[in-house]
Symmetry: C2
Subunit: 192 residues, 2 copies
DNA sequence: CGCGACGTTGATTTGCCTCAACGATTGTGG
DNA sequence: CCACAATCGTTGAGGCAAATCAACGTCGCG
């Protein structure tokens, strides 16, 4: 296994010594996730956070009508879990599965807490991760509140071109909070 | 000044020694914010984060049509800033002002970074703060995606009864992403 | 090869918005 | 401390963005 990628990602935010690197590596579990396989199921407790090395994952919420609402996508260099469940220990509200054959490095909550103790800078790394996630979610709220679907779609394309290429329109529509039919009609308009 | 309240809030998550408490206190600036006064203006850089001791504040985004979209309320024991601007140093997208006469303790980014160095546990405290904020924003997104306005309103009432009492319906409508007129019609229905 | 998911199109419906008008509160200057 | 102005909450008429439902060709996969 070559978690160079994940260490690079960490070292974008903090600096870690060689022994610390080895410690971090030793706590990561490589996991192959074939397309459609479920990493986390609603109702179970999220005991791990996953770093995506290859492929694409999604996290979605299933509402009372049984519709799936996509909360986030994750690919190269993203971290994903049901943070609510992960931090409280309550049952997960989200399901996480793979949209493509993927490879992730998983870190258990226990090992994460252990890392916080052994490598204090890791707490800083995680703080930055959470801060960025907070900012991202808040700006998504702003967009949902203030922009019509057509503009949200355009912003999505420019903000996440890597996703736009690899994800079906049905998934994108769900992320934007609209129906696939309506997204289709938006695309028709803007192409013309 | 008696920042016992803020230290209590911090000690819910980490433990701090007496000298550390004094250091923290020394970096906080007490600030009275009369109703309608602006704490942070769109376009300026958010250099401080504010802990609300008394009163009620709001953060809102002004869209192209000039409409205000409320991103968050804050009262007793909440921390508020434009986290995007605070963490990147870019101009703020949000305006923060007081809905009632309020009292806040402000902590500058410089002093916060200083605290991270001097009191390592403070980085943990802030990590937890950001993590909770992330979870909160994400669950708001889930609600916006999956529930009609009527149910979002009911959930708001049960989740934040303290806000519901003190905030006008116009503000609540803006937070929910609907017009005051429509909120009024929802209230009429549920009372009948 | 055949089946199921996808993307598209069109007809109809609906949740929510816009605009306008009105009494009831709240705030404010004289 | 009052009188007037401004903002708020409400109601109703009409309109629009987006949903629903149904139907159909296409494509990828087993």
């Amino acid at each position: 296994m070559q978690p160079a990628q994940i260490l690079d990602n960490i070292q974008k935010h903090i600096s870690v010594s060689q022994p610390e690197k080895e410690l971090i590596e030793s706590l990561l579990v490589l996991q192959r996730v074939p397309k459609k396989e479920v990493l986390l199921e609603t109702g179970k407790v999220a005991t791990e956070i996953h770093f995506v090395s290859e492929g694409v994952l999604r996290a979605y919420f299933t509402d009372r009508e049984g519709d799936q609402n996509i909360v986030m996508f994750a690919m190269n260099d993203w971290w994903i879990t049901d943070m609510y469940s992960f931090s409280t220990g309550n049952p997960a509200q989200l399901t996480i599965d793979a949209l493509e054959d993927s490879v992730v490095y998983s870190l258990s909550k226990t090992n994460l807490e252990f890392l916080f103790l052994k490598v204090p800078a890791f707490e800083r790394f995680f703080r930055i991760l959470m801060q960025n996630a907070y900012v991202r979610e808040q700006s998504r709220i702003i967009q949902n509140l203030s922009m019509p679907a057509e503009e949200r779609y355009r912003q999505f394309l420019t903000k996440y071109p890597q996703f736009a290429e690899r994800i079906t329109q049905k998934q994108i529509a769900s992320y934007l909070g609209i129906t696939p039919e309506f997204l289709s009609s938006l695309r028709k308009k803007s192409n013309a």
